[in-house]
Symmetry: C2
Subunit: 257 residues, 2 copies
């Protein structure tokens, strides 16, 4: 379907088409489409742009990822079709690994995701098939499998577009978790070390830019950025932002945009 650029929701519809294509290709699953819809509503409430609140979380996330000794980017179907280039760029920027980790695992889908990342320049993609041979404690059986070279030994994991259980369990086994989640109320958002409340298609390029800009800074400076960041307070600001927007709309008795 062709989307006229004048359409008020053109960008949102464009992203939807990418997901739909990813679905037709077998990378995205039905649950991923529903998850996309859930995110769309929060993005619409946030205002479909990166807030200053998100900017400060992106800065903290960049610092955490650069401080990390063994950072890993966890990839699912949705993020693989939405930000494949940025995943590779970010891995290069932070010297991190890329690992496929699916809630609904399938060998075929893992391979398709790996292929998509390789096409986009990834040197290595962990967690595919038998590579995910290690067991992470605390997880349900099908989510326990991780790559012994990746998430198992990671100190910091970036989980864009993941569900709550996953982040909570990674925290329980002592990992720092950077999450990108449009829902500031979700379990993922509430349990992550840093939560970027923004659309991945906007946040990922900004995160790459920020790590590139901070990568030559001293560890002291990075530690200071991390120290000054308060995730709980940041999330409260996000919730207040949405709430204020709703009040404005309610008062003006009009539609959002």
């Amino acid at each position: 379907m062709k989307i006229p650029s004048s359409h008020p929701r053109a960008e949102s519809l464009r992203i939807r088409e990418i997901l739909k294509k990813g679905f037709d290709e077998g990378i995205v699953i039905a649950q991923g489409l529903i998850a996309q819809g859930r995110g769309e509503t929060f993005d619409y409430l946030i205002g479909e742009r990166t807030t200053p609140i998100a900017i400060s979380s992106i800065r903290a996330a960049a610092a955490y990822l650069l401080i990390a000794k063994r950072p890993v980017i966890s990839v699912n179907g949705n993020i693989a079709v939405l930000s494949p280039k940025e995943i590779v760029e970010l891995a290069n920027s932070i010297g991190g690994k890329i690992e496929v980790n699916l809630f609904h695992r399938s060998a075929k889908r893992e391979l398709l995701i790996k292929k998509r990342l390789l096409i986009n320049g990834a040197k290595d993609v962990l967690g595919v098939g038998n590579s995910a041979s290690a067991n992470l404690s605390g997880f349900e059986s099908h989510r326990r499998k991780v790559d012994p070279r990746g998430i198992l030994v990671a100190d910091t994991v970036l989980v864009p577009l993941e569900d709550g259980d996953r982040t909570l369990n990674l925290r329980k086994v002592g990992k720092l978790v950077i999450a990108i989640d449009l829902n500031p109320l979700s379990r993922t958002a509430q349990t992550a070390t840093v939560t970027i409340v923004d659309n991945v298609v906007r946040a990922m390029p900004l995160l790459v830019k920020e790590t590139n800009s901070l990568k030559n800074e001293s560890i002291d400076k990075l530690e200071r950025i991390v120290k000054e960041f308060d995730n709980k307070s940041n999330l409260q600001k996000c919730i207040s932002h949405i709430s204020k927007r709703l009040v404005q709309i309610s008062a003006s008795n009009g539609v959002l945009k």
Copy 2:
């Protein structure tokens, strides 16, 4: 996937599974899954229960549908799998017609939806294939086709789970529109005559119950119910309700449920 009833989101996951099954059967399309996700977020913000605000809109909707001379229930893929029984019960209760009307038309999908409704007791299902031979003015080409026995001559149309353009255009050609939409800010919500801001799986049974309860009332009483209802004010109350819930959560610094 089996969902334990103890899961905090069991009902939401159950509905998601119905949609997923409808998708596998070819009744629901990818866009319908994304739309389901968008609704899920609003339902979560509303509190996943029918509010007193929604109850009053359901009462007004029932009165409008009973006053109508030629009410029609417009059916798409999502509502056909979520509430097939209630669509038939409501049509019987109000003496109304059922018409399939899809944004993404396909002869196969129309037939599948018709079949689903017939299995659930529908006597007749309009708008399928060549039955949609009439053109409604103001609509884009593929949405213009309606059944000359149904929407074309209807005075009141119930559109559960429809997009904004459709409701606006039906209003433009002089129809009264009853919409069920979880997003109180949407164009559908803002342009309908009565907007029920509730999940269809909760609202449809309540609407059937209400029409059954009011169907023997005098036209005077029905007219009074309609007169006393203010859709704009009702929508503002919905928006305030969501906003208040966000403030509460923000203050308690906790997750929603």
